[in-house]
Amino acid sequence: MTPFWSCRETSRLIAEGEPSFWARLHLLYCRHCRRFRRQIRLLGAVARRRAGELALPDVGAVQVRVLSELG
């Protein structure tokens, strides 16, 4: 059992996406947990960048095909 304001609990809550008041308070004085949070945020930014760079088929052609099949 570790304190709820420990690095372990803080970083777990950050990774879950729902840091509590105590976790946010902990971040004020813990550089390692702040670094952990920045890395988790980086993951999100990189995932969005990756999605934007995916090579898609011709969307218009797919729309026409779907509508002709289902319309």
């Binding site: 570790t2 777990r12 996406g17 999605a51 088929p57 095909r65 509508l67 099949e69």
Partner: protein
């Protein structure tokens, strides 16, 4: 919303989600067509409790998971849990503080590494992470789309992010 309007509005987003999940482009087109077909069949039952986008994403991801028979139940214990616990002392302080990239990292390089690291996730973890981060749905919408509880979603996101962070940390040298 009519089928035509839905197709015009969401085909691009659904294709992007399918391909981002790892479905080959040809099959992604089939999956998107099947998603709209399922929507058309169940249109009367769509009660508007979620947005149409959430509803369509839910159909798409569930079909993607089912297609590969990959909708396994999330394990009670995942290797990510032990790896995470191993980073801390008994008192909960970092014994192995985080290393590796941060916000000013080369995002193009990080995106390339992320592609490799995504292979280490279970399909449910990958779906939860991508639908939340890349597709931009809220936690509540992700729960609706994937038909999981908020507790289950937190577990999926924790494991996905912990694995991806560890993987990037290991590769970023």
């Amino acid at each position: 919303m009519t089928l035509e309007k839905a197709v015009r509005a969401y085909t691009g987003d659904l294709l992007r989600a399918a391909i981002g999940f790892g479905v080959p482009p040809g099959q992604a087109e089939e999956l998107v067509a099947a998603t709209f077909a399922a929507y058309l069949a169940a249109q009367q039952r769509f009660e508007g409790r979620s947005t149409l986008k959430t509803y369509l994403f839910g159909i798409l991801y569930r079909k993607a998971l089912e297609a590969g028979r990959k909708a396994q139940k999330e394990l009670a214990v995942d290797p990510a849990d032990a790896a995470f616990e191993g980073r801390f002392t008994g008192w909960g302080h970092w014994s192995a503080p985080p290393q590796g990239p941060e916000k000013d990292a080369d995002q193009a390089e990080a995106a390339r590494l992320l592609e490799e690291c995504l292979k280490g996730l279970s399909d449910q973890q990958k779906a939860a992470f991508l639908i939340k981060e890349a597709d931009g749905l809220t936690s509540e919408e992700v729960c609706n789309a994937l038909a999981v509880s908020s507790t289950h979603l937190r577990v999926l996101l924790f494991r996905a992010r912990a694995k991806l962070r560890d993987c990037l940390e290991g590769k970023w040298k």
